[in-house]
């Protein structure tokens, strides 16, 4: 039981990661694929953030009388990774808009059918 409770943050991360991954693989709609990709990336952000937590540590701000801080480095790294994620999402959405204009659909099986017809 403790095994589940002690590592609850990792269980959440694993659950989100697999959910996102499954959506990316299974979804037919491109928007849904992007949503899945975002869920997948967010789970990794949570993995990083939760590993920076030090038991009993406060936010890493210099205050008198406090000596135990959480590790701020993972937070900074994830700030960068979030920016990367946003950029990826926007490129993906821009591509979807152009796919919609070119094919008239954002469903994968429908535009595959159009390509096969040529």
């Amino acid at each position: 039981m403790n095994f589940i409770l002690d590592y609850y943050n990792y269980w959440i991360v694993v659950f989100l990661m697999m959910t996102g991954f499954y959506i990316v693989i299974s979804a037919n709609n491109l928007i849904k694929k992007i949503v899945g990709l975002n869920v997948f990336q967010t789970s990794v952000f949570m993995l990083y953030i939760s590993m920076g937590k030090v038991n009993g540590g406060t936010a890493p701000i210099l205050v008198d009388g406090v000596t135990l801080y959480s590790n701020p480095l993972p937070h900074v790294l994830i700030l960068t990774a979030i920016v990367v994620g946003v950029a990826t999402t926007s490129v993906g959405l821009a591509l979807i808009i152009r796919i919609k204009r070119a094919y008239g659909t954002v469903e994968e099986n429908e535009f595959e059918k159009q390509d096969d017809a040529i």
Binding site: T80, V84, G92, L95, R98, F111
Partner: protein, 506 residues
């Protein structure tokens, strides 16, 4: 001043040049500017390589923050060698792209093409030079995002779906690397590659590091299109504009291959990855399947760009086979093949792009009779094709020679035979195109007077690569010297990490 910051310049120059290229607005200005910047970056990477060969390693602290805390750029023979190949190819492709993109990309998007190319180049240089595992992920995404836009610039609407699939696969790959680096950080508390190497070595190998290795290996394998994870590559290479394909085929997957070398040899150490985790067998089997499956796929395609794309996946198999042998010669064969494959695939895709420029199609039927109509282009295709096959006096022979030597060193007779058998498949897929070009008559419907030789701005970089194919196939002193000192250096660091566990900084 310049000497001091030399290591940062190949990243900074194109990165700063990218927005300026966009602001220039006119296609011609953007072309001149981007080509000039790329040529200067190429010159700097030449200086870096000669410095790395004499001094063995250059370290540069970004922003003046010393190594374990700040981001470090580390130049050694291995990455300087690959950087030279990447920047030289970038320059040649840029010269080539002026005419090529006129047919394949809308005029309003020309400056965007040069901007994305510069960003991609900056990202690739960053991946090569950085000595920080997280920074590597960031540069990987910089180059990948630029790549997705480059692929989506094609004239055929299928380039959009190809780019989207590439984006999904690429993001999953990059995120896997991010998870892996996170696992390593969780266990070691550092992101600097050398620091990581020392600390991974002193900790008993445990499940966190094993999982990190697994995630990183799968992530990098997606990026370098190792066999079962290569599905994004043929579509992306086929539908991207020819100039983009020439650049990506000769640089992007090679840089990902370098990342794999870096992780195996510098960070995790050879003993851990190959002896303890048994990655060598996995890589070897996948490499051999890649060589045969994808060479076979290449023989049955009708689109010549797809043929060459599958051939690229097979060639990546040869490189992976080289490192999976786990010897200095094997690694050397892999490194030489990075450089040599860039020369031959660059030339081949440029030739195919020139055919598209004149004929408007890259189907194998469009090649019929081109041996007479476009003699220089088809001669370039033939010589570069012979190089892919591995005919003596071309660079392909040198790569195969070292690969077979490395296999024989360890008494792997079957491997050596398989490498040679793989070359026979290359004879078939290259031979089909050459046969169509020289021994078949052009289709009657085609107006044969319309098709003439490609413009000289396309021929010049193509032939520069073809001559390099022959030159480096005859005079191998530069490539073998650089590759030997690079692989010896990588082996040294790999074994230093294994022996010097006592003096590790905590």
């Amino acid at each position: 001043m310049l000497d001091q910051h030399l290591a940062a310049l190949p990243i900074l120059l194109p990165l700063i040049a990218a927005p300026i290229t966009l602001l220039l607005g006119r296609s011609l200005f953007a072309w001149v500017f981007a080509t000039a910047i790329s040529a200067i970056a190429c010159y700097f990477s030449w200086l870096l390589l000669s410095a790395a060969l004499t001094e063995s390693v250059l370290s540069y602290a970004v922003g003046g923050w010393p190594a374990p805390w700040g981001i470090e750029l580390r130049v050694d023979a291995a990455n300087a060698f690959v950087l030279l190949a990447v920047s030289a190819l970038s320059t040649l492709v840029l010269i080539y792209s002026k005419d090529s993109i006129e047919k394949e990309i809308e005029p309003s998007k020309h400056t965007l093409y040069y901007t994305a190319h510069m960003l991609c180049f900056a990202g690739l240089s960053g991946i090569l030079l950085t000595g920080d595992a997280f920074n590597l992920f960031v540069f990987l995404e910089v180059s990948s995002l630029a790549t997705y836009t480059l692929v989506s610039l094609g004239s055929d609407r299928r380039c959009l779906t190809a780019a989207f699939r590439y984006l999904v696969m690429g993001t999953i790959g990059a995120t896997f690397i991010l998870i892996g680096v996170g696992m390593l950080y969780m266990n070691t508390g550092t992101l600097n590659m050398l620091d990581l190497a020392h600390r991974i070595d002193i900790y008993e190998s445990n499940r966190t590091i094993n999982t990190g290795l697994a995630f990183i290996m799968v992530g990098v394998s997606i990026k370098l299109a190792l066999f079962p994870l290569h599905m994004w590559l043929p579509a992306a290479y086929t539908h991207a504009p020819s100039a983009v394909t020439a650049f990506l085929a000769s640089t992007a997957t090679k840089v990902a291959f370098y990342v794999m070398i870096r992780f195996i040899f510098t960070i995790f150490g050879l003993n851990y990855v190959f002896d303890e985790m048994g990655m060598d067998l996995i890589l070897m089997v996948l490499a051999i399947v890649a060589i045969f499956k994808c060479s076979y796929m290449a023989t049955v395609q009708s689109n010549v760009k797809t043929v060459l794309a599958y051939s690229s996946v097979a060639q990546i198999g040869y490189m992976i086979l080289g490192i999976s042998l786990g010897s200095v010669t094997g690694l050397m064969a892999g490194l030489i093949h990075i450089f040599n494959h860039a020369l031959m695939k660059g030339a081949l895709f440029m030739a195919v792009g020139a055919v598209f420029y004149r004929v408007g199609s890259v189907d194998i039927n469009a090649f019929k009779g081109l041996g007479k109509q476009m003699p220089l282009t088809m001669a370039a295709f033939t010589i570069a094709g012979l190089s892919i096959i591995g005919v003596p006096l071309t660079v392909g022979f040198i790569s195969k020679w070292y690969l077979v030597t490395a296999a024989l060193e360890q008494q792997h007779w079957i491997l050596a035979a398989l490498v040679l058998a793989g070359s026979l498949l290359a004879v078939i897929y290259i031979g089909r195109v050459i046969e169509a070009a020289y021994f078949q008559k052009p289709p009657a419907t085609q107006d044969s007077k319309q098709v003439k030789e490609a413009p000289w701005l396309m021929l010049a970089p193509m032939w520069a690569l073809v001559l390099a194919n022959i030159y480096f196939g005859v005079d191998t002193s530069l490539t073998t010297e650089a590759a030997r000192s690079a692989s010896e250096w990588l082996f040294q660091t790999s074994t230093i990490a294994a022996t010097s566990s006592a003096e590790v900084p905590q």
